[in-house]
Amino acid sequence: MNPVFFILAVVTLAGALGAVALRNMVHCALCLAVTFIGIAALFLHQGAQFAGLVQVLVYVGAVAVLIVFAILLTRSGDARKGVAVFSRSWKTGLLTAAATLATLVAAIVNSPGLLREAPRAPELSVRQIGLDLMSQWLLPLEILGLLLTATMIGAVILAMPEKPSGEPAPGPEKGARP
Amino acid sequence: MSVPGSGILKGLVETARNFAGSYVSPERLVTVQYPEESLPPPENARNFPFLVYDEDPDKGLRCVACKICEKECPPQCIYIVAERDEKGKVLKRPRIFDIDISVCMNCQICAEVCPFDAIKMDTEFELSRYERFGALLLHKQDLAKSNEYYRRIHPTEAAEVDARLAEDRARQQAKAAAAKAAAASPAGAPAPAADKTP
């Protein structure tokens, strides 16, 4: 096993564990960022340079910051004592996850066909990715553009404060409860 | 309609002119290189009090140890002990006159309440000391400064004070002269009336 792979895997998994298990949600978000960086480094290790850089740009630069904003906007950042962090049925959840993991690992271990050498390192230039995106993958790209536009509008509408016409309902600032 | 961004360009030109101009014409520079040169304090500047004397630093102090300033001082930084002669009779001059200017808050009340124009506000500001305690506790001999010094730092105010003091002195002399004249001739003389408005 390659030591670089091992280190990156440990960092990634430690970050992932922290991201789901820590009490303070801001710590969770920061651990998530560590995981994203670890996965990007794994992509780079695999020779997928473009994907790794996009991973950092999108996940660390945008998604992690978005999550942090959401945590602060919903005031989930200050972990109060006595408020349960885990749900009542956490045993079932853990069991499900463990079962899934066991199934996947069993499937992987029992597939001898997977044990093959990697072909020579691919020489994939950014130019080729761009050309592919503009020829072979053009339709998915256009659909993706449409999806992102729709997402942007949808997210803005969802998060916009509703102004009910009629009776003056409590707005977000006034608060429904003290 | 003005072109968008023209205001930014105007501002940039202005600052560029300042930048270049400060190298070409040194008179644009507004800063004074302080320890080497310093600006004279403005005439109405004031910070800590001092005692005024005429002629002699010890005997000529105008202070009569009446302790009005000591009582009025809000942070109570003035300490006065009057001089006594051998028999214990209080004399009209201070034996101890201390001001702790590390406590003083520069309010000028002492100077305002003094009926003898004996305590005035100084403009000396380079008062840094290395010791933490005591170095800023000024004694009588540190506080005593000549009337000439006072005239130099506050010319207008000092002229007023001098005029007032001269008037008082003249009035007293006239009164004394009148008393003498009255003692000489019991009928009295209306002569001092002319002296009342100098």
Binding site: A70, A97, P122 | -
Partner: protein, 108 residues
Amino acid sequence: MTPLPYWLILSSILFAIGLAGCLVRRNAIMVLIGIELMLNAANLNFIAFWRYGSGAEAAHGIMFVLFAIAIAAAETAVGLALVIALYRLRRTVQVDEADALKADDKPR
């Protein structure tokens, strides 16, 4: 070079951690974090299979990852908007407290 099964096991563990986080935590944002982890595990698989597969010259694996990243970003944006809307409506983001089918008038 690390054999392929190691990559797959790594991504399986990542997927399981994400799933556990998704099922175990009460906070809706934490559920989203779990989903992100699972998506990243899938991306890791795409890249591993692309690298060890026969068609490494074609950029198919990369393309899958790029599209998955874009869609995951969209999913996060909408998900977090939903969470914020939920918080505005109910003053809570705990998923087990948001159990009414209809926004009732009395605040919880």
